[in-house]
Point group: C2
Chain length 497, copies 2
């Protein structure tokens, strides 16, 4: 049974039900699960764990790569299983629990989690639950649609539960490049020199004696929920393509651009799709999540190679890619998120990083996470890993939200995830602000003139004028700096216009 999936015969005896495997997870444990942006998460064991907790309550600390699919964070939250969660999530039920303070959420740069684990700076992983397509003859793990933090979780955990997911094709084998940085103080450079550098092994090397349970599952990843481009996301893409063209004219880029990274979600995906109708070609991606747009760019003949740490596709795209996996495989690589997002590699390659802002301010500080300065949306994700070290740190957003009740450009952001020092380019459907080499007062001018929605432009100009009259390197009217957020909280609109 499943001989091609479990190739080390001595492990056959470890096959068990999801419920039995879930019972190996004890109250108070720290659990490291596979899964990154709804791809490759362990599916059967967390579901069984949520079931079990209804009758036999228990609490765990849960670490993943990033977000889980199949409503697992919802089910685990509703079952009261989560006491702590890191480093990222996107689930509505869990989000509520985080914001009411019942789940302690640690919002981290996604390259940092396993670095902290390896250095024993956060509580160690007791048990890892990892989705795989196969276990090799050596007992090594062949991961599925995401690498995320799975390799380090499996290597550092005391015990490992493997979910062999029959719904994930065996053809995924060979797609992974597993490299773990050596230990300090004798750590060596990470040898990624280009987006397509292969530096590691195809499977995660662990001692098979650590495998305490194998569960056979058969459930697909949740499809991505990316929305199709609209006129505003197309306008954002258009501004960026024009900007890149000018960078080529100025000899700061070639028509290959530099390796591209795009954040998860509708806007970033639309921006990447916008590169189909551009003069650029022979491009590469060195990114986190490979989305629909990656494969659209392959099909358009624009993209030569894509490196990521997970693959998250829509229903539309899923079959087209999976039915042609052998054709795509030579152009794809999935790495640990520590490597896909590593500051060393991002700076060396000179990434063009395109990420989504929740809001930004007059001076180019970006809020990626907190609504009204308090309520967590998802988490910073990899945006900080990329923006700080990128050749170009680009943030995109629509200029207004909620039918104009909210301006995405504000006097002062209510929470800072990316400081003015780390932000080069801001883009809304209104236009693009190039902040490179500008002082704060100059940044405010180009942001107001290029990015703000017309309904808010005069109010921001007025704030900026009053702030400059008071003075300061970064002028603010402290009494009014957060007033737009206060108005929103109290009246449902940032301005009574």
């Amino acid at each position: 049974m499943h001989r091609e999936r479990i190739r080390l015969p001595s492990l056959m005896s470890k096959v068990m039900s999801a419920a039995d495997a879930a019972s190996l997870i004890k109250d108070g444990m720290t659990v490291g699960m596979s899964g990154f942006t709804r791809a490759g998460e362990a599916k059967a064991v967390p579901k069984a764990l949520a079931e079990r907790a209804k009758a036999h309550p228990l609490k765990i600390s849960l670490m993943t790569g990033a977000s889980l699919g199949n409503d697992l964070d919802k089910q685990l939250t509703e079952a009261g299983v989560l006491s702590r969660r890191m480093p990222f999530q996107v689930d509505n039920t869990l989000r509520k629990a985080i914001n009411d303070g019942s789940v302690m959420f640690i919002d981290q740069h996604l390259s940092d989690t396993v670095e902290q684990l390896r250095n024993r700076q956060i509580k160690s992983v007791d048990i890892a639950v990892i989705e795989c397509v196969a276990i090799t003859e050596e007992g090594h793990l062949v991961l599925s649609t995401s690498v995320g933090n799975s390799a380090s979780f499996a290597i550092l955990a005391e015990q490992v539960i493997v979910e062999i997911n029959l719904a994930q094709p065996l053809e995924l084998e060979g797609l992974h490049d597993i490299y773990i940085p050596t230990y300090r103080p004798t750590r060596l450079p990470i040898p990624v020199l280009k987006a397509d550098s292969r530096i590691g092994s195809q499977a995660v090397k662990i001692d098979p004696a650590k495998i305490v349970g194998i569960v056979i599952s058969d459930q697909t990843d949740s499809p991505s929920t990316v929305l199709p481009a609209d006129s505003e996301t197309q306008a954002i893409a258009g501004h960026l393509v024009e900007f890149f063209k000018n960078e080529v004219r100025q000899n700061r880029l070639t028509n290959q651009l530099m390796p591209l990274q795009a954040g998860v979600g509708t806007i970033a995906n639309a921006v990447m799709t916008g590169l189909i109708d551009s003069p650029f070609h022979g491009m590469a991606m060195y990114s986190e999540v490979l989305q629909d747009s990656t494969f659209d760019l392959f099909e358009a003949g624009k993209l030569d190679f894509a490196s990521g740490c997970s693959m998250t596709l829509s229903e539309r795209k899923h079959d087209a890619v999976y039915n042609n996996l052998e054709q795509y495989k030579p152009k794809l690589l999935l790495r640990p998120q520590e490597i896909s997002n590593h500051p060393e590699v991002v700076r060396r390659l000179g990434i063009i990083g395109i990420n989504t802002a929740l809001e930004f301010d007059l001076y180019g500080n970006v809020n990626s996470t907190h609504v009204g300065g308090t309520r967590m949306m998802n988490g910073i994700g990899g945006s900080g890993d990329f923006a700080r070290n990128a050749h170009l740190a680009i943030f995109v957003t629509k200029s207004i939200a909620k039918a104009g009740a909210i301006s995405s450009v504000v006097p002062m952001v209510s929470h800072v995830d990316h400081t003015e020092h780390d932000v080069d380019i801001l883009v809304t459907e209104q236009g693009l602000a190039d902040l490179r080499g500008l002082a704060p007062r100059e940044r405010a001018r180009v942001i107001i003139d290029n990015c703000v929605h017309p309904a808010y432009r005069e109010a921001l100009n007025d704030y900026f004028r009053r702030a400059c009259a008071i003075g300061g390197h970064t002028p603010h009217v402290l009494r009014d700096a957060l007033s737009w957020h206060l108005n929103l909280e109290e009246t449902g609109r940032m301005l009574s216009v």
Copy 2:
């Protein structure tokens, strides 16, 4: 004349007066000058430039490594020479001009400036003015007490003016390790594997035909203005030593610790001095500025090696070090600031980064630069380069300032330079908060309990309680979040206690 200082005979004809050299700097030029933290700045030419501008006004963009000594920023500001200035400064007169908006100041991570220059993302350097102890037989530049950005300025500039400073001993030759990252897209790893890795050349390799003027000067660096330790800085050092001891007990550090970085100034210097009376030994520094404490640690037999990008000593320490330079030289290395601060190297080595905060908030966000959210003090300097990628990102400050009118711990910082994601440890004379692996509400608890001055503790507890009652992952009472800063602005005190 000066044959041992100017060893390429054909360059002798380039020797000229400072005034003649200054006349090579034209209105509108971008000028790259040597100098980092009042060490190794070009001294005669900027002084002559300020003189000339009194009679013949001109404006330049001035880039340096970091701050200049000998009141040069003051003189250049008063003469109206500076239209733009980057990436760091500490001068009172220039600070006023920055804050009234008459000088455009670009506050950058100190590893970033030459990366942006190399990629032509900021205006290129027209002329470099570099202090040297000598020019070699090949016409290469032997720098003095700082490397800073001097190497890249000289390499990238069209023209180079060299100041040969006779007051800087020739024995400095051999102390420098000049390595410039290769160009993308074929950039290679930076081969620093340990604090003492020597990876480059002793002199800056340029085409001597670019040298358009040589000025002989004879003026020492300004002494550092670091104050002696007081009971509060000693208490901060004491808390950190206890913390490190516990890290050793927990097997997260050895008695060698990890390579240390300490920010410039009195508190960081006092913390380093505090390591003299500690069980740690065989330590190394991989830092920016080597201060008095570096040499105190050498003398105490605690430190094996120190890598930096400049040396800034007090009058007390200057003679002791310079009279024994040959003894110290095997234990010292001065690198370009791009390398001393490089994210790749900082992450690889696992630096312990100790930097000074102006203020921090309940959740661990740090303001390093802006008083009242608006007025620039100095600049972020290298603190971001180190904190983001450190093994331990530590920020230190006294819990109160201005005789208690100001609390350094506030509900919400008025400006963010280091986000909650990048801050591991906060220390005041009151105690130490270990934020690793904690969610925001947990961080607030340990910060209030450990770092806040007793006079402000109840007020912060009250704010935190009211914020938690409203809810949110990072609870805030938005209406009151900046009220302490407003009170300070309006009444001279943060609280009327």
